[in-house]
């Protein structure tokens, strides 16, 4: 796909047309670089004027909570895309984790012989994230050891994980995850329902995940190696980077994030159903792309991805809030995605031509 990817090196698109040198171009470039922010701001002003509530702190908080889920998914996916891969299975992984934890809380762990064991909420959450991690790891192994294209490997996993999610309850819902004191498994609602300092815990979690991801991608060797693998795998190999390890790692990270997102959803609903987060993978990938992550790998930032998630979320909620037919949502969303990528290409071209003039 990379041939026509946003990251296409300008060289292959022939000599860039000469432009009048200087500030105008630079200004345009600046605008393009910050396009996600620009779009977000425009959205907020637009909807803000259309509906009084839109910018009310209470609504902003609610919208941010909705964003949190997709943002966490998208952050995980970003790691994968940065290496030049793709992860279509995150939605299903979220669903699987949701059902696993739902089961653990609702009906516990049937022990061989005597009775059933109920884990504490902390343990349950840990279990869920672990499951996501393992499923992601399997994706990674398929991609590296068995040389299956990421698209296929994770497409297969999309079906498999969803299937297991449904099998966990034969398609049913785990209705009540409140738990009971005597079972010592109360408090699952905390992560999805409760607030701390007036901000939903889910949002705090997103902030933590984002912060961690930012540090990892920008301040650690691992993060840099992720970019290197995506930028030029052969060069990475020659530079002594363990390419396969890096790849497996990013899929595991993506799986873990997906699971976490699934748990937040579940906690918010107070019930676990097998279709949790169906097709969320598309939203997550969309957010990453909107944020400027290139599917060809090597380019992109966590901050961008989070902004992308905000654009998608604030757009959707805004349209609902002002009572625009919800059907326009998908139209607008699709248009915005494509538009964002087109501007990304524009940016690349502009940068290239500026570089050329600089030389």
């Amino acid at each position: 796909m990379s041939d026509t990817d946003v990251a296409t090196p300008p060289a292959t698109t022939g000599p860039a047309p000469k432009r009048p040198p200087g500030n105008l171009a630079r200004a345009a470039l600046l605008l393009l670089k910050g396009r996600t922010v620009v779009v977000l701001v425009i959205l907020m002003i637009l909807f803000g004027t259309m509906s009084g509530e839109y910018l009310s702190s209470s609504n902003l908080i609610v919208m941010t909570k909705h964003v949190a889920i997709n943002a966490i998914l998208a952050i995980g996916v970003t790691f994968v895309i940065l290496t030049g891969g793709i992860d279509l299975s995150v939605g299903s992984i979220a669903g699987l984790a949701s059902m696993i934890c739902g089961g653990l809380l609702f009906s516990g762990l049937a022990l061989p012989g005597e009775g059933t064991l109920f884990l504490s909420v902390g343990m349950v959450i840990l279990a869920g994230v672990l499951v996501g991690c393992v499923v992601g790891w399997v994706n990674g192994v398929l991609v590296t050891r068995f040389k299956v294209a990421p698209f296929i490997a994770t497409l297969g996993m999309l079906y498999v994980a969803r299937g297991f999610a449904q099998l966990r309850s034969e398609g049913g819902t785990f209705p009540n995850l409140a738990g009971t004191p005597e079972r010592g498994n109360t408090g699952f609602h905390i992560i999805g329902v409760d607030r701390w300092l007036g901000i939903p815990v889910a949002v705090w979690i997103m902030v933590l995940v984002a912060a961690a991801a930012i540090v990892v991608t920008t301040r650690t060797p691992f993060g840099r190696q992720v970019y290197a693998v995506g930028g030029n795998e052969r060069a990475a190999e020659l530079a002594g980077i363990r390419v396969n390890r890096i790849k497996v790692a990013v899929y595991a990270i993506s799986g873990a994030c997906a699971a976490l997102a699934g748990l937040l959803l579940t906690s918010e609903l107070g019930a676990a159903y097998p279709d949790t987060a169906t097709t969320y993978e598309l939203n997550a990938i969309a957010a990453a792309v909107l944020g400027g992550t290139a599917l060809s790998g090597g380019r992109g930032t966590i901050v961008g991805t989070v902004l992308g998630a905000f654009v998608i979320g604030f757009l959707a909620d805004g349209l609902v809030l002002v009572g625009v037919s919800t059907f326009w949502q998908s139209v607008v969303k699709g248009a915005v995605i494509v538009f964002a990528v087109i501007t990304a290409t524009a940016q690349q071209r502009l940068e290239a031509s500026l570089a050329e003039r600089a030389a």
Partner: protein, 304 residues
């Protein structure tokens, strides 16, 4: 439940009177829900309210976010046809805590005291009617199949039970297949096709709702089987048409529009008085629709 009502009222009263009613239903691609939306919307406007119509497509997450929106908009009331009993309660509770009362229609939830009203059609009574007629059409014997609705929807269970309370009394009626088609027309189509393969001798299909009945009928048409009895549930215009053209045998009409209007009226009085005018659990009887009275049916109501 009165005490519950007044609880809500304190919360409700503490707010400035809101002029917005939020109507949340499953996807309008099922006329039944379209009818609910239209009726509720019209009634609310008639009573001078601003409305916001959202469909959750039977996705509890979407529903939860829609309810968040209602809360943000400080809605006076929510009219809700929910996305599954179990995955709904938390969200409705959240609305209540925020002082936004919910009026459930069509589908119940398992606990009381969270919603101000739960207005549903009498599914048990309706199912009895449908089952009875199905048994008669089958002449009390032969193989039949049942298409179940969404497991997460209490109506699915209630109707199935209602059907069997009648049908199981006929020893010669044999159910050879029972599959869920999740209220979905396309799914009913393919499920019926496979059922027909496994059981060619089938004489009748009883469906939990009309969209599934239509799907089943489509499968029968494709297989060239005009000898199979189909009975549905809802009384939707499309099925009524099909009955007139002697395809589907019968359906059980739910007063969808009426129920929606009732909910809006009660919401209105609650907003004004802060009091629940009716007990929480309410049910409206259903009417059997077949060749006899099909002509007098219009938009989920019998205009005799």
């Amino acid at each position: 439940s009165d005490s519950e009502g007044s609880d809500g009222s304190d919360a409700g009263a503490s707010e400035a009177k809101s002029n917005l009613i939020v109507i949340i239903t499953p996807s309008p691609d099922n006329v039944f829900f379209k009818a609910e939306q239209v009726a509720a919307d019209a009634k609310a406007k008639e009573l001078g309210y601003e409305t916001l119509v959202i469909s959750h497509d039977d996705d509890p997450t979407k529903q939860s976010q829609a309810i968040d929106t209602a809360i943000s908009r400080k809605a006076g009331a929510i009219i809700l046809d929910n996305a599954g009993a179990d995955a709904t309660e938390t969200a409705v509770q959240r609305a209540k805590d925020a002082g936004v009362p919910s009026f459930l229609i069509d589908r119940e939830i398992n606990s009381t005291g969270i919603a101000v009203a739960q207005i549903v059609s009498n599914n048990a009574q309706g199912a009895a009617l449908g089952g009875q007629l199905f048994a008669e059409e089958m002449e009390g014997k032969g193989q039949y199949a049942e298409l179940l609705g969404k497991e997460t929807d209490t109506n699915a269970g209630v109707r199935s039970k209602g059907y069997h309370d009648v049908l199981d009394q006929f020893p010669d009626l044999e159910m050879v297949a029972q599959q869920t088609a999740n209220w979905d027309q396309a799914e009913a189509l393919s499920k019926t096709q496979t059922i027909l393969q496994a059981n060619p001798k089938i004489k009748g299909i009883i469906a939990g709702n009309d969209t599934m009945a239509l799907g089943a009928q489509a499968a029968l048409d494709a297989a060239g089987r005009d000898d199979v009895i189909v009975v549905g549930f809802d009384g939707s215009p499309d099925v009524v048409e099909s009955i007139k053209s002697e395809k589907i045998k019968a359906t059980v009409l739910q007063p969808a529009s009426q129920i929606a209007e009732m909910a809006v009226e009660q919401a209105d009085s609650y907003i004004r008085t802060g009091q629940a005018s009716q007990p929480e659990k309410q049910s409206v009887d259903c009417i059997l629709v077949n060749a006899e009275n099909a002509d007098s049916v219009d938009n989920f109501a019998v205009t005799s």
